[in-house]
Symmetry: C2
Subunit: 137 residues, 2 copies
DNA sequence: ATATTATGTAACCATACAGTTACATAATAT
DNA sequence: ATATTATGTAACTGTATGGTTACATAATAT
């Protein structure tokens, strides 16, 4: 058991950020599954009824139905009824927040990596030497 | 149990793509966890020994150790020993493949969404009417 | 009215995973 | 040599997830 009653700031970020992050969390975890990403890829081609989607994959229709539910929960797709179909449409919105997370990393592969590496290592070396590392307990 | 012996083309993409995708899969699934993303965020600030990393989070050190293993597996971090420390360094490389996946979606939020929506829906309407939908089984 | 089609959900199963505590090991400090 | 520190891993637990089959329901076709 760790003593977190003493943990300072990091434990509770401002509410607004929390909400934004939960959006991002949902998106990231929805994207973790290859099938779901493939569903989105498919939906890039246009609106599709769920059965139509299911037929493209080597898994059962209920499996796809569940994937769709997860995508819905993450707001990555929207559902609209039409007759006995449920049409699914891609909603790219939440991908923006994925993109914005990635944004911070883009420099890293834009800049010369090897330079960056040694720079960062040197930084750490300095840090290690200077820091008394008295921070907890 | 479904009969996959009969499944046609979609089941086996060219080997080269498979490899690339498994990289991407590993990256995406590693990123699914908020703690792991936070670890990467931390590592953006420079190389860190694992204990140092663990101390930043409200979970046990072994938990972080496991996260690090997953990040390692996805090649998102690299480990280097130094004395009794294991230094972890961010490796942004696999994020490129995440980025390249996102790339296909960027148009969607760049262009006017509402226009795109109605366009896509119309496309589908056309499709639905024309397509005999005789494709399987 | 009855059958068929499109779809979602419940119930179940196996596996993965995030977390924990306890233990093992290697490097440093005393 | 012995204690301490930094770290990983094993064993265990609870929960989520991806898959399945079976069932329920609503809309359309006959």
């Amino acid at each position: 058991m760790r003593d977190h009653s003493v943990t300072r700031l990091p434990s509770r970020p401002p509410r607004s950020l929390t909400l934004a992050n939960s959006m991002r969390d949902a998106a990231f975890s929805a994207l973790a599954d290859p099938t779901r990403r493939a569903v989105l890829d498919l939906l890039r081609g246009g609106v599709r009824p769920s059965g139509d989607i299911a037929r493209q994959f080597p898994v059962s229709r209920p499996a796809i139905s569940k994937h769709l539910r997860i995508l819905r929960r993450a707001h990555l797709v929207e559902e609209r009824r039409q007759g006995r179909h449920r049409l699914y449409r891609l909603n790219p919105e939440p991908l923006k927040s994925v993109d914005s997370w990635l944004e911070h990393y883009r420099n890293f592969w834009t800049a010369s990596l090897s330079n960056l590496k040694s720079f960062v290592e040197d930084e750490y070396a300095k840090e290690m030497l200077s820091k008394p590392e008295s921070k907890e307990k």
